[in-house]
């Protein structure tokens, strides 16, 4: 029930709350954080870090295949594979795998950042305060028949103030988190830019691949590989396919054998050559792009993730190519 007291109280509360809301808006600063941009950045960051993880580290299957290649070479030569060699391979792999923790934790950080940016607490608190007012009003009606303890209009005002305060707080927390994440990305980029680190990360994958590919070459030289898929590729424009006994025909013709051996050796040498370096370069580009987007977010500028998305797509395709060789 609205009485003169309530009306006066409501008016003064409204004036006070308007002033308070203006003050909150002023304190929130001119460069306000865009929560939507923060969510976009969190999603891209998560995608980039998990793609990098699957690109610049050798998978277990790549490693195991390379070790089988080592065993094949040594058994072919009539010697056992030296345990020192296998132990050294394993030790190096273990040390490098430990670095995966950096990228997996970066993925977790971005997941948490996304949760923070998409928190609906500022919106929810308005309805929570409204519910509280209703409960309070109902209670006060039970204990007294006089005017309500709190005028109805107050809950709307209080709800708005609480929502604004939480919004400002959320924006501040998002900015703080963005700064910390960006600084750690800068540290990671500094590490990956280091020539020694780059040589470590890429050379290991390259040597594993060299073992696998050259085991294939030894099989090919001993006529144990079926050249039909390669012949089909060569004839693809004509629409024809290799005959079923292509291999036995090739074995009886020295020029054909030389031709086929040459193409297979070329393929083995050049197929997906440099993929490890490309993956590493793309990872560094992704980190640079993420750092730039964080700076934009912190300045209140629009976040444009198109370039970052292209780099992440490149990482995905490199990762697929790398994993495709071991399916």
């Amino acid at each position: 029930m609205l009485t003169e007291h309530n009306i006066a109280f409501s008016r003064s509360t409204r004036i006070f709350s308007a002033g308070l809301l203006l003050g909150i808006a002023f304190l929130s600063g001119c460069a306000s954080i865009s929560e939507q941009n923060a969510v976009k950045l969190a999603t891209s960051g998560k995608s980039a870090s998990s793609s990098a993880l699957s690109t610049i580290f050798a998978t277990d299957s790549e490693y195991e295949s390379a070790m089988e290649a080592e065993v094949f070479f040594h058994s072919y030569a009539g010697v056992g594979t030296p345990s020192e060699l296998l132990d050294d391979w394993q030790q190096v792999k273990t040390e490098l795998d430990a670095r995966k923790a950096v990228f997996s934790r970066l993925t977790t950080v971005y997941a948490a950042f996304g949760d923070l940016a998409s928190s609906t607490a500022p919106e929810e608190i308005m309805s929570a305060i409204d519910d509280f007012y209703t409960a309070l009003y109902n209670y006060s009606a039970l204990v007294t028949t006089a005017r309500p303890l709190v005028p109805e209009s107050t809950s709307v005002v209080v709800g708005n103030i609480a929502s604004q305060l939480l919004t400002v707080r959320k924006g501040r927390l998002i900015r703080q988190s963005s700064v910390i994440i960006r600084q750690q990305l800068e540290c990671l980029l500094l590490l990956l830019d280091n020539k020694l680190v780059q040589e470590e990360m890429t050379s290991f994958q390259e040597n594993l691949r060299a073992s696998r590919l050259n085991a294939s070459r030894l099989l090919m030289k001993n006529d144990l590989l079926d050249p039909s898929p390669m012949l089909n590729d060569l004839a693809a424009d004509s629409g024809f396919k290799a005959v079923s006994d292509a291999r036995s025909i090739i074995m009886t013709s020295a020029p054909l054998k030389r031709g086929v051996d040459g193409v297979m050796a070329f393929r083995i040498q050049h197929y997906n050559a440099g993929l490890e370096q490309r993956g590493y370069t793309s990872t560094r580009q992704a980190l640079r792009a993420l750092i730039d987007e964080h700076k934009k977010l912190e300045k209140g500028e629009p976040v444009t993730i198109d370039e970052l998305q292209q780099i992440v797509n490149e990482l995905h395709s490199i990762s697929n190519l790398l994993s495709g060789r071991n399916q």
């Binding site: 060699l85 209670y139 927390l173 750690q184 060299a210």
Partner: protein, 130 residues
């Protein structure tokens, strides 16, 4: 060159050498190239061998190159590994902080919701004793 410039240049070179990163990177790159070349030469070399002894000599020579590369890798990883460990720890701390920040936003809402429930409960109790 002035004495000051000479001193500055000497300090710069010294820092690179003492830091060791440049020399280690170059050494690793050279050993990597040698290991890959030895592996690439292995199929042809094995095919040319006529006896088991010749094949064993070939594979031992190749293994020597590969072991040199892996030995250098172990040394460099001991040098660079701690930087990654430290960064991983920092990222874990950041993850915890950001999660706590998100939870703190929810706390105010939860506090109000709890108060609402308590008020409703009190109201129900009042009714029960009327």
């Amino acid at each position: 060159m002035s004495p000051q410039k000479k001193q500055s240049a000497a300090r710069e070179i010294q820092s690179v050498v003492i830091d060791g990163n440049l020399e280690l990177a170059e050494a690793l790159a050279a050993l990597n190239a040698a290991a890959q070349a030895a592996t690439a030469a292995l199929p042809d070399a094995l095919m040319k061998c006529e006896t088991d002894e010749e094949m064993q000599t070939v594979i031992i020579q190749r293994d020597t190159c590969l072991l040199a590369y892996l030995s250098c890798m172990k040394k460099t990883l001991a040098h660079t590994g701690p930087y990654f460990e430290s960064l991983a720890k920092d990222l874990e701390a950041t993850s915890k902080k950001v999660k706590a920040d998100a939870a703190s936003l929810q706390t105010a809402h939860d506090a109000v919701t709890l108060l609402t429930k308590l008020t409703s409960l009190v109201g129900s109790l009042v009714l029960a004793f009327v």
